[in-house]
């Protein structure tokens, strides 16, 4: 679809690529709004996906294990695009589309109107999908902690939950944060799929402008600049987080340097953790 419209766009405008269009729309209000929606959508989806991932890890230890396995099987076995298609269209069936879409939450906040059911459906699809992948990351992280830690905690009278919260998870965080950061980098970009389903996030906003002006290439440059800005800023945050969680640790391994992060080079520790996690391909 975007390739086709790009082609049509080139035909319509003749051959000229207009840099002034690029600069004109770089800070257009609907692009800025889209960037904010993208960031919000990515953060809430990643957060919820991480919580789901942890829940799946815990459910795997109970007799409900098959349900957890089925969840992972389904969400890793179907395309995210199909999950988006399903979840952005499920609300009418539940008689929820009308109440949701009459919500003025976006306009109240000064954004363009968009149907809340689209936003909600996209959020759920990203969160559910991410949950299936985060479950593996959580498992790799938690299982990397010496079982002696849990035993020591239990021998002091701690319950499983308390031991998990106070002893195991803080240590596992060190292993989980690098791949979690990579997931969020990925999420910032993956949310662009929501643009196809009526969510006015960055891609959707840029696509609409480019399409209506027959200037898709110019807007593609704008989108690239914005996505690069977001992922680069996140790279800083991630480096900081990794250093912080390494501050009081076992072997004094340093967090990944920013430049290595941007260029996709991890520390040995990060890479082995990432390797452990990359079982079964990524989307």
């Amino acid at each position: 679809m975007p390739i086709v419209s790009a082609f049509i766009g080139i035909l319509a405008q003749g051959t000229q690529f207009q840099w002034d269009i690029v600069w004109k729309f770089l800070f257009d209000s609907s692009i800025l709004q889209g960037a904010i929606i993208t960031i919000v959508l990515a953060i809430i989806s990643q957060f919820t996906g991480s919580v789901i991932g942890l829940l799946i890890y815990l459910i795997r230890r109970t007799p409900l294990r098959p349900a957890a396995e089925a969840y992972i099987w389904f969400f890793r076995g179907t395309p995210l695009l199909v999950q988006l298609l399903f979840l952005t269209n499920i609300f009418p069936l539940l008689n929820l589309a009308r109440p949701l879409n009459s919500s003025t939450i976006f306009t109240d906040l000064g954004f363009q109107y968009m149907p809340l059911s689209f936003f909600l459906g996209a959020f759920l699809a990203f969160a559910f999908n991410e949950g299936a992948y985060m479950a593996e990351i959580m498992r790799a992280g938690i299982d990397s902690i010496d079982p002696g830690q849990m035993e020591a905690a239990k021998s002091l009278g701690m319950s499983y939950g308390l031991a998990m919260r106070r002893i195991v998870l803080p240590q596992a965080a060190r292993v989980i944060i690098p791949p979690l950061g990579n997931e969020f980098n990925s999420m910032l970009k993956t949310t662009s799929l929501a643009g196809y389903f009526g969510v006015l996030e960055l891609y959707g906003a840029g696509f609409n402008i480019g399409n209506s002006l027959f200037k898709p290439l110019e807007l593609a440059i704008d989108l690239s600049i914005w996505y690069l800005l977001m992922t680069t800023l996140w790279g800083f945050v991630q480096s900081y987080l990794e250093r912080r969680f390494n501050a009081s640790t076992l072997d004094g391994t340093k967090g990944t340097r920013f430049i290595d992060r941007v260029l996709g080079r991890g520390t040995p520790a990060t890479e082995s953790a990432a390797e452990a996690i990359m079982t079964g391909g990524r989307r």
Partner: protein, 265 residues
């Protein structure tokens, strides 16, 4: 002795006919052991004899399939149902009994993301619910007792093995346990560090702590134990006062084991 009189009423540990299988292998084959208040029992035996497994059953880090274990009169791990079957107890009840039992592990298992002091105050604050100030005051006394007051703010990776193990002992003592279990507490230590840990254990024994100690340190058994228990192939084959047992073992297997240990020493 008054302690012995008390123990005649409720022993600190009463294990009766404990059986445990790992899959098809029966690793504990009917172990019964009673430990009185203030008594120091040292369990020795060849590796694979089940002594560590048995110790771990005493605070339910291992499940058992048959038998009964009580700590100061309270069942640990299981409730015995009317039909005589064992049913695993609720996590809350298990944790409640465990909180009264200190355990020291071969590999220390200090929490690496916490300082020595934080290791010691963690459970008193979050399990017993005592205030941070009170927990810290008591923790500093305990670190002093094990000779590590100056290392309170050190992370475990900055401590030697012997120091880590002494922090681990302080951490267990901070729960004011009725009973201390030592699982080969000196086996992972460099030889020159063994003494400092044994010294702390000996001091505890002299203060009247009830202790069950699995060890390969025959010197410690000889000097500190009230009773030495010999295990082999998942059973207790012999027990007695250390002087008598070491001088005149009754069982052939005990003689073989002690002979091998002596040669190694």
């Amino acid at each position: 002795m008054t302690q012995e009189q008390q123990s005649s009423m409720t022993p600190m540990v009463a294990a009766t006919d404990v059986h445990k299988w790992f899959n098809q292998t029966e690793v504990l084959r009917g172990v019964s052991l009673t430990v009185g208040r203030g008594e120091v029992v040292v369990i020795i035996g060849p590796s694979g004899s089940g002594k560590t497994t048995f110790l771990r059953c005493l605070n339910h880090l291992e499940k058992i399939q048959q038998g009964q274990i009580t700590i100061d009169g309270e069942n640990i791990g299981y409730r015995v149902e009317n039909n005589g079957k064992l049913k695993e107890d609720s996590e809350k009840n298990i944790s409640h009994v465990r909180a009264q039992i200190g355990m020291v592990f071969q590999r220390f298992n200090l929490f690496p993301h916490m300082t020595a002091l934080q290791n010691v105050i963690e459970a008193p604050i979050h399990v017993l619910g005592i205030s941070k100030a009170e927990a810290e005051e008591r923790a500093r006394q305990l670190l002093q007792k094990v000779g590590l007051a100056h290392k309170a703010d050190a992370y475990p990776n900055k401590l030697s093995g012997g120091q880590q193990q002494r922090v681990a002992i302080a951490r267990a003592l901070a729960m004011q346990p009725k009973l201390m279990l030592f699982d080969e507490a000196t086996s992972a230590l460099d030889p020159e560090l063994v003494g400092e840990v044994l010294k702390v254990m000996k001091q505890l024994a002299e203060e009247g702590m009830t202790m069950v100690v699995v060890t390969h340190e025959m010197g410690f058994a000889r000097d500190v134990a009230d009773r030495v228990v010999v295990m082999d192939q998942g059973q207790i084959i012999e027990q007695g006062q250390p002087a008598a047992l070491f001088a005149n073992p009754q069982q052939e297997r005990t003689r073989t084991f002690l002979g091998m240990v002596r040669r190694a020493e």
